[in-house]
Amino acid sequence: MKKVYKIDVDCAACANLMEEAAKNTPGVKDATVNFMGLKMKVEFEEGHDVKTVMENVRNNCKRVEDDCEVYL
């Protein structure tokens, strides 16, 4: 399953870090951060609760870049 989330981030390198962080979150199969479009596309693995996975994604993103937001 794929979903798109709106995000907020100020710098392009941070967007790359967020992408990395999202990709490395358990339950996420693949993630792409579109810095210019301020969107995050997340592909989930089967059998994971999207809501908890996304909360982890959000926390992981905050760890690498404090000044970012993922709108769930």
């Binding site: 100020d10 710098c11 392009a12 390198a13 941070c14 790359n16 792409t32 579109n34 810095f35 210019m36 479009g37 301020l38 969107k39 596309k41 760890r63 690498v64 404090d66 000044d67």
Partner: protein, 644 residues
């Protein structure tokens, strides 16, 4: 400017003023140190806070942490030598200026591009059941509702005109300045601007599914598909910071130790630590990273303004490397409609022959009949047309003003014993016989598009080495078009599946460069997906074509292919300039810094200055080279070229 940017701008100005004022303040020793800490904390408190978080999250290469180490280190050295605190503050200051500029420029481009597109409708005038018109959010309009579009307003949702006639300005969607006509029963798409008449439209799609929304979404989404340049730079950024940080560590400790123990000289710790701190100042990869997606975004935005939709940065990149363009003939290079091309008569007047033929074809729905009627213009005159009889596989026979007129192919002429003859013109021959005697023939042919010649020439000028045409038409017709347009290769009499095979064969032959296929997007979806880049033409309002292609030309002007190619080349040129320039300057300053020729001022200027220049360079991608349009205007004046 948003709230955050305003606040940061105030911080930058206040800190800068304080820093300059302190340079003239008669302070010394501890009071001087304390005074300088004020602007430092004003400009740097958030960086220091983030640095703390970086430590807590064990992120050694956090840019805020590195910035904090560099500036605190510089202050510490200044305390030790009771020297210049300005440097540390200036580094923080310029770093923040860089961050501010970056955020401002990126936001600005986002807005510029949506302004450039200018197709997002803000409201819809919904007609209620009682006839009252209410202004509503287009999201709230349901399928089948009737909306009113006044002159000057944007059509908010796709639909069918139920009342009124008007001209529509489609320039924001297609880049084409010629207005389109819309009348009752016509389908209209959102994003067009109503020029003069009042239109009532019954909606056929919801707002999300309407053309304008879909196009905007596609343009925004395009940067999700990343180019190889972006992948390269993000990989580079990932290794860049650690390398610079380790180099800084080495620089801080190795030379002093070598000097001390190895050479018996004074270690000069201060000098080497200062040089190491200079390294940390340029360790942030942001300046490298931001300009690449920005360039692609600007390029894709500029292209959509011209009616060229690019579905991903990767496709723009591939298009820039294309050196072979394969065209489908019908609907791509030719109009795909039949037109009367020549009339050859034996005895009758040419117009009279066409007159008779048009009458005979009065009731036929065959495309050839339609083109004959169109060519004659006033078919519905007072002439009597009776006993119309269609003879399958031959043609049509009818009584026109008392004379038996037969219109059909060679078989029909043979059947009635009329002596027909061959013709040099290429195209479909329609023979006419009057009262059993051969009267002449009319040549009907597909017409090459107005800009097809110019389009091929423009492609050749823009780095295309080979042009190929694929068609299901007969060899004679295909060769004529290919010769006329000066195409390099032509493959005719192909079945749809043969086209895929041909493209695969061409792909295999290629060693360098990429291959683009251009088609109408409806019949050739498999070929579009097989080519390196699939370009669909005339896709305005055709979801299938938009779905199948990588690049979509909203109108059916073949000249847009070279426009797309130019934009792609320009964007990639800018991307490469930015990569080389930013990496080059950073490496140069690193080397100069290690040798002691570049101080922290140089480092921060290299960082921020390079980023500002790269960002400004990136924004250039939004503008299409003007000469394309001059060429287009000139070619408008050329007469229509017609071939088979």
């Amino acid at each position: 400017m948003n709230q955050k940017q305003k606040k940061n701008l105030v911080r930058i100005v206040v800190a800068a003023v304080l820093m300059i004022a302190l340079a003239y303040a008669p302070l010394a020793g501890l009071p001087r140190f304390m005074a300088y800490l004020v602007p430092y904390f004003i400009i740097g408190y958030d960086i220091l806070y983030k640095a703390g978080k970086g430590i807590r999250n064990r992120r050694a290469f956090d840019e805020s942490l590195l910035m904090a180490i560099a500036t605190i280190g510089a202050i510490a050295l200044a305390v030790y030598e009771d020297g210049d605190y300005t440097e540390a503050i200036a580094v923080m200051l310029f770093y923040q200026v860089g961050e501010w500029f970056q955020s401002y420029a990126v936001n600005r481009s986002r807005r510029d591009i949506s302004d450039l597109m200018d197709i997002r409708p803000d409201y819809a005038n919904l007609q209620q059941a009682d006839g009252v018109i209410e202004r509503v959010d287009p999201y709230e309009v349901e399928i089948g509702s009737v909306i009113v579009v006044k002159p000057g307003e944007k059509i908010p949702l796709d639909g069918v005109v139920v009342e009124g006639t008007s001209s529509l300005n489609t320039v924001a969607l297609t880049g084409e300045s010629l207005p389109r006509e819309a009348r009752e029963g016509d389908e209209v798409i959102s994003g067009c601007v109503n020029i003069n008449g009042l239109l009532k439209i019954k909606t056929t799609k919801e707002f999300d599914e309407s053309t304008a929304s879909k196009i905007l979404e596609m343009v925004e989404d395009a940067s999700s598909r990343k180019s190889r340049s972006e992948d390269f730079i993000s990989k580079f950024a990932r290794v860049y910071t650690p390398i610079v940080v380790y180099a800084a560590l080495a620089l801080a400790f190795l030379p002093p130790l070598v000097r001390w123990f190895g050479m018996g000289m004074a270690p000069e710790w201060g000098t080497w630590i200062y040089r190491a701190l200079t390294f940390l100042v340029i360790s942030c990869p942001c300046a490298l990273v931001v300009s690449i997606p920005l360039s692609f975004f600007a390029g894709i935005g500029g292209a959509s303004r011209q009616g060229v939709l690019v579905k991903g940065s990767n496709y723009l990149e591939t298009l820039s490397e294309v050196d072979t363009v394969v065209f489908d003939k019908t609907g791509t290079l030719t109009k795909g409609v039949f037109q009367v091309n020549a009339i050859h008569t034996d005895k009758l007047d040419q117009n009279e022959l066409l007159h008779l033929a048009a009458h005979v074809e009065r009731y036929s729905t065959h495309p050839i009949a339609e083109s004959l009627r169109n060519a004659f213009g006033n078919e519905a005159d007072g002439c009597q047309v009776e006993k119309v009889e269609e003879i399958a596989g031959h043609g049509i026979r009818a009584l026109v003003n008392g004379r038996i007129v037969c219109v059909g192919n060679a078989k029909m002429m043979d059947a009635i014993g009329a002596k027909w003859h061959e013709c040099d013109e290429v195209g479909t021959m329609v023979h006419v016989a009057v009262d059993g005697e051969y009267a002449g023939h009319i040549i009907i042919a597909d017409v090459v598009k107005d800009h097809a010649h110019e389009a091929i020439r423009a492609l050749k000028r823009n780095g295309i080495k080979k042009t190929v045409m694929l068609t299901g038409d007969s060899r004679r017709t295909a060769d004529k078009v290919a010769a006329d347009l000066q195409l390099d290769t032509v493959y005719s009499q192909l079945l749809p599946q043969d086209k895929v095979a041909k493209v695969e064969e061409l792909l295999q032959q290629k060693k360098t460069g990429k291959l683009a296929f251009v088609g109408d997007g409806i019949n050739d979806a498999p070929v579009l997906s097989r080519a390196d880049v699939g370009i669909a033409m005339g896709a305005l309002g055709s979801d299938a074509a938009i779905e199948a292609a990588d690049i979509v030309l909203m109108d059916d002007d073949p000249l847009k292919i070279s426009v797309a190619k130019r934009i792609a080349r320009k964007t990639l040129r800018i991307v490469k300039q930015n990569i080389w320039f930013s990496v080059g300057v950073k490496v140069l300053v690193l080397i100069l810094g290690a040798l002691g020729f570049a101080n922290m001022w140089a480092a921060i200027f290299a960082d921020v200055g390079v980023m500002v220049l790269a960002v400004l360079n990136a924004v250039r991608a939004m503008f299409v080279p003007k000469s394309v349009w001059q060429v287009k205007e000139n070619s408008r004046n050329l007469p229509d070229a017609t071939v088979a």
